[in-house]
């Protein structure tokens, strides 16, 4: 039983280390923006003012 647990945790850690970061594609046209169009980092913020 103990062995199974060790293997299970091992697989879990291995999986996490090699997991690709999930990336979403967000359409950008027609939204207020600031900063250079060709900036290496694009941040989309969903906002509720209230």
């Amino acid at each position: 039983m103990k062995h199974f647990l060790v293997i299970f945790i091992g697989v879990l850690l291995f999986g996490q280390a090699f997991a690709e970061t999930k990336r979403f594609t967000i359409p950008l046209e027609g939204s207020p923006s600031q900063g250079p169009q060709d900036a290496p980092v694009t941040i989309v913020e969903f906002i509720d003012y209230q």
């Binding site: 999930k22 979403f24 207020p32 290496p40 980092v41 694009t42 941040i43 913020e45 906002i47 003012y49």
Partner: protein, 136 residues
């Protein structure tokens, strides 16, 4: 987020999408106010003001804020009352629902999703990771 933009000026582009929560009275009208200010070239001024003044966002106050920013108040009111920019808000809302967003703010940093008012250092860490990935 203001601090991130100021820190990474040349390397960061920030875009705003609207996700007004439907059960809050002034969520939608304040998004309309931001876009009405945008029509007059003052989106960011209004955006920051709304964040600062929240939750004081009823129509009268919004009009007062517009006046304070030197906007054409009649044009501003007419944009609010005719829901001139409703299409943009509806489009963003649909996108937010398609993405299963359940909280604001939600950020996507080069597509990486970050939910809620996370500490500045955490945002900075993600931005820095993304920068390091393109500029070794």
């Amino acid at each position: 987020m203001e601090k991130i933009v100021a820190t990474y000026k040349k390397n960061v582009r920030l875009l705003i999408k609207f996700y007004p929560y439907k059960y809050r009275d002034f969520a939608r009208i304040s998004a309309e106010a931001a876009l009405a200010a945008s029509d007059q070239g003052k989106f960011w001024e209004m955006h920051h003001l709304l964040l600062k003044k929240s939750p004081d966002l009823d129509r009268d106050r919004l009009v007062a804020y517009a006046k304070g920013l030197g906007l054409d108040v009649e044009k501003f009111k007419s944009a609010l009352d005719s829901h001139k920019n409703a299409g943009i808000i509806d489009r963003d809302l649909k996108l937010a629902l398609d993405l299963d967003l359940y909280n604001t703010p939600t950020f996507f940093i080069n597509g990486r999703k970050i939910v809620g008012n996370v500490p500045y250092d955490y945002l900075r860490k993600i931005v820095q990771e993304e920068l390091n990935a393109v500029k070794p």
